[in-house]
């Protein structure tokens, strides 16, 4: 069960992510943005729901498709959009770009352009939580494709034998770039693999906030109680190409259209209306505010300065007394 306030938070954040991605796409086509931009459109339920249950001092690691996680964890649309534009005001001062959104102060240990690269880093977050004697948890987001990397296996095993408070969240959007999951992945449900690490595995509808919440509550309870890690697989779909320049040879418009019918935002809205969590007018207002916030972030990013090329050698190393 999700409390009203949290449902509304999820709804807002999903809308923020949706508008943010639309804006990013527009900027990309207008050559305002460059680089590898991987949109999260259609998958918003996962980041928003999972992170709605976390505290600010809990850790996450994220992926190349990391805008959603970054926004949900930090709530800072401005720093996110500025980072995509490579501006000094971005999360990483424009050094990281779309694939490297991080916010250490708010528990985002970083997005990663290496598929599977963030999984052991999240285990490190879990180990820190344990050794620092806190009840923090650490969540690793990764894709179906990443579940075939060695780091997946090594990390799940390690977290299990050390009983670390880590929650592995696999966003199974059914493709790794052009490769359908069945072609690269030996099991239909990736959560099946949890049994190989003696941890609970959940396969849920990744477009259903309630289903994700259910699994996540169980995994979180286990983690906070220091009982060990869990694996949650969220089946979902990305509406846009793998990246903004994807020719999309591997699917049809109809495939996409069918999944757009299963829009997680519309679904949550229907649920909230049905359950009278909020009125249509209230939800419309949330949407409008989300859109406005994205517009404001875009404006902020556009008006932000480029980093000074003279600073290019700053921060290779941490120098005592010279903190960023």
């Amino acid at each position: 069960m999700i409390e009203k306030e949290r449902l509304i938070w999820i709804y807002r954040v999903m809308n923020e992510i949706r508008y943010f991605e639309e804006k990013a796409y527009t900027f990309f086509t207008q050559n305002i943005l460059r680089g590898s931009v991987h949109l999260y459109t259609g998958e918003e339920a996962v980041a928003a729901t999972v992170i709605s249950l976390l505290r600010q001092d809990d850790y996450i690691t994220s992926t190349h498709r990391g805008h959603g996680h970054g926004i949900a964890k930090s709530g800072d649309l401005k720093a996110a959009m500025a980072e995509l534009m490579g501006k000094e005001t971005g999360f990483c001062g424009g050094r990281g770009g779309s694939m490297h959104i991080a916010d250490l102060n708010k528990g985002n240990l970083g997005a990663n352009a290496i598929v599977g690269g963030g999984i052991p880093i999240a285990v490190g977050g879990g180990l820190a939580a344990k050794l620092l004697d806190t009840d923090r948890v650490s969540v690793s987001f990764f894709g179906d494709g990443a579940s075939n990397q060695g780091t997946f296996h090594e990390s799940l095993n390690l977290a299990s034998v050390w009983k670390l408070p880590v929650i592995f969240v696999c966003e199974n959007n059914q493709f790794a770039i052009s490769v359908p999951t069945w072609q690269s992945t030996s099991v239909k449900d990736i959560a099946v693999r949890a049994a190989g690490y003696d941890m609970p595995g959940f396969t849920v509808d990744g477009n259903d906030v309630l289903a994700i919440n259910d699994a996540m509550e169980k995994a979180l309870d286990r983690a906070r109680k220091k009982e060990g890690p869990s694996l949650i697989e969220c089946k979902t779909y990305r509406w846009k190409g793998h990246w903004t320049g994807d020719p999309e040879v591997y699917r049809t418009r109809d495939d996409v259209a069918a999944w757009m019918e299963k829009c997680p935002i519309r679904r949550l809205r229907a649920y909230m209306l049905e359950n009278k969590t909020a009125t249509a007018a209230a939800l419309d207002k949330i949407e409008a505010k989300a859109k406005a916030a994205v517009d404001e972030a875009a404006e902020f990013a556009l008006n932000s300065l480029e980093p000074d090329p003279k600073t290019v050698m700053d921060n290779v190393y941490c120098v005592p007394g010279k903190e960023a």
Partner: protein, 326 residues
């Protein structure tokens, strides 16, 4: 001769070699239906079918290792790494296995394996997708290292690599794929390993450069020549084996050396060339060799910063002039 892009040149050689020898096959991420993110395997699936054109899971160490095993067992795998930055994930199979197997097994194994893929700047891919890692592979014996800078060299070196019975790291550059040039039609056209290309003859200074930095260096050279400085530009084409003879002969003539690459300056391949030239042509040197390479920081996303990291035209010109005490 046909005019082809660098990407087309690669694709054509892959197809020709697969036609010639049924033991040649390709595997990598998104190389089948998609034809590779940069199009270097486009059309191969249709012609050769899914047995010989294989999409891999995202498991770099295992599919490189599968290539190693298949090569030991008689096949000639050509494995694509989508970005050469991902070689770090397969370093064990590359350096502990592929590079060592022949020697360690007393010469009783062959590993005819090609690992190819692109690297470098040019698309705003930031720190983990923009590196130039070729220099690392010169330090561990057993691997050959090829770095084509033109469509013809891409074709000729790739054919040589595929027919070589040793493991070859084949470095392409993402910003070169769309560049065009003449490529011989001959399906036996090969560029030998260990034979540098004198891109342009000259008398005042020897400049050694490769990959994207051949073009970039030539821009600087155009301006230097118009200032009356005659530059000899050499592209080694392979770093292992490295044609020091050609480079040393040139420096003995010019008395000056500048190395230019996109790889980081410290321990970039220019370092090896500078040190070897100093050993072999010490008394001919009129000035200390100049090394240019990327600054010692991670490649940043922001374009202005990225430009500040890699050698710029004016820096190349200035380095050349320093060797001339101008």
């Amino acid at each position: 001769m046909a005019i082809k892009t660098y990407a087309m040149a690669i694709k054509d050689v892959l197809a020709e070699e697969m036609r010639r020898d049924k033991n040649v096959f390709v595997m990598g991420e998104d190389i089948a239906e998609q034809g590779g993110i940069f199009g270097c395997t486009r059309g191969l699936l249709a012609e050769f079918g899914p047995e010989r054109v294989r999409n891999t899971p995202i498991s770099e160490n295992a599919f490189v290792g599968t290539g190693v095993g298949a090569a030991c067992a008689g096949l000639r795998p050509v494995v694509e790494l989508m970005y050469m930055d991902f070689a770090y994930l397969a370093m064990d199979q590359l350096l502990n296995q592929a590079a060592k197997i022949r020697y360690m097994f007393g010469g009783k194994a062959k590993v005819p394996l090609v690992i190819r893929g692109q690297q470098g700047i040019g698309r705003g891919n930031a720190g983990q997708h923009s590196q130039s890692v070729e220099s690392l592979f010169m330090h561990i014996p057993g691997m050959k290292v090829a770095c084509p800078s033109t469509p013809a060299d891409a074709a000729g070196l790739l054919r040589t690599a595929i027919r070589d019975d040793n493991p070859v790291m084949f470095f392409e550059h993402k910003a070169l794929y769309a560049t065009k040039g003449e490529v011989p039609d001959d399906t036996e056209f090969m560029v030998p390993f260990g034979k540098a290309n004198i891109v342009k003859a000259g008398t005042d200074v020897t400049i050694v450069c490769s990959l994207l930095y051949v073009n970039r260096t030539m821009e600087a050279v155009g301006e230097l020549e118009s200032e009356g400085i005659s530059c000899e530009v050499i592209d080694p084409r392979t770093l292992v084996p490295l044609d020091m003879d050609t480079i040393v002969a040139s420096v003995k003539k010019t008395g000056r050396l500048v190395t230019v690459h996109e790889a980081h300056r410290t321990m970039g391949f220019g370092t090896e060339i500078a040190a070897s030239v100093t050993e072999q042509a010490f008394s001919y040197l009129d000035a200390p060799p100049e090394r240019l390479g990327a600054k010692m920081c991670t490649l940043p996303f922001n374009l202005g910063l990225e430009n500040a990291v890699v050698p710029q035209k004016d820096e190349i010109k200035a380095a050349v002039k320093r060797t001339l005490y101008r």
